[in-house]
């Protein structure tokens, strides 16, 4: 991987590590529970992050690697449904997170400074360059792990930090 791309790979490893860390110890009904004052159950956040990786990947490569039926439930601004059972399973969300991470690694292994400075592969009103897509991708994930951390505590899980 070229030096210019390494910062983004380190960022992705970091945000991915945060997701694993702040979902540790969640099990069974924990994933479906919406604690008071939190807008979404943890399964929504996990699915949203998995779906979002596919959205960011499309901006980088133009490839569509979406899971069928996920966008309407899990895209930015989707309203949480009252029935958490409709969401994908934890295992599916984790599988998709891992698969899209591999896709992103493959992209970064072939990216040079010129490619990172180029416009996204599809038009975006939010991002001018592929580099800005990558920066937002990992910080978006880190942001959501802050909500997961609070949710863990509201569910009575042990404090991690």
């Amino acid at each position: 991987m070229k030096a210019a791309a390494t910062a983004y790979w380190l960022g992705l490893q970091r945000s991915n590590g945060f997701i694993e860390y702040f979902t540790s110890g969640l099990e069974g009904e924990d994933w479906m529970t919406i604690p008071q004052g939190v807008p979404n159950p943890p399964i929504w956040t996990l699915g949203h992050l998995a779906h979002s990786r596919a959205s960011f990947l499309e901006l980088l490569t133009g490839e569509q690697r979406y899971e069928e039926g996920w966008a309407e439930m899990l895209a930015l601004g989707a309203i949480p449904k009252n029935d958490p059972q409709i969401y994908p399973s934890v295992e599916d969300c984790k599988r998709v997170l891992a698969e899209r991470m591999e896709d992103l690694r493959t992209y970064l292994e072939g990216a040079n400074a010129d490619d990172l400075a180029a416009s996204p592969a599809i038009a975006s009103r939010f991002f001018k360059t592929k580099a800005s897509v990558l920066v937002h991708l990992t910080h978006h994930e880190a942001h959501h792990t802050g909500v997961l951390s609070l949710t863990r505590r509201l569910l009575g899980k042990e404090k991690l930090l």
Partner: protein, 170 residues
């Protein structure tokens, strides 16, 4: 700035903008409001980020540790017991005010930019100046972690905003 350093800088710009976005519109008692289920106040989070930005800088270069301009944020003995990792918020009156925290955060941005402007690939691959989390093996990883740690805490800030009835940012 070499491309590798520039891309690390973009991460810092993003976390700084997240802090600004998710504290937008907070004023007066909003900063110290305690909410059931949320362990920290907005002011504690802001102070914690100011303190830790200084701490992470000290892992990049010894020169930051000796820089008096950093003031109390770099003095763990003063701010650490109030704002260090895992410390539960105590008396809000003892905490620095938001303006002081924002000022220190800006000083941090200026210092990180100055560091990255002259950093070489060898500098970024070098180990931190002091022992720290074993995951953080290089100075590049310190910058990456610093920025993502900040964005992580903006998750709690967004929850506080919602509970205070502030406008939704996204």
């Amino acid at each position: 700035m070499i491309p590798a350093a520039e891309n690390l800088w973009k991460g810092m710009e993003r976390s700084q903008s997240f802090i600004e976005i998710f504290t937008h519109g907070l004023d007066g008692d909003d900063w110290t409001a305690r909410m059931e289920g949320i362990p920290n106040t907005a002011l504690w989070i802001l102070g914690h980020l100011a303190l830790t930005r200084g701490c992470f800088l000290g892992l990049l270069s010894e020169s930051f540790s000796a820089d008096e301009a950093w003031g109390p944020a770099f003095k763990m003995d003063e701010w650490g017991p109030m704002l260090g990792m895992g410390v539960e918020p105590k008396d809000s009156d003892a905490l620095p005010d938001p303006e002081t925290c924002f000022d220190i955060l800006q000083k941090g941005m200026d210092s990180i930019h100055a560091y990255l402007e002259t950093a070489t690939l060898e500098d970024l691959d070098a180990p931190p100046c002091h022992p720290t989390d074993p995951y953080l093996k290089s100075k590049a990883q310190i910058v990456v972690h610093m920025a993502h740690h900040e964005s992580h805490h903006t998750g709690a800030l967004s929850m506080i905003r919602r509970r205070l009835g502030k406008d939704r940012m996204f």
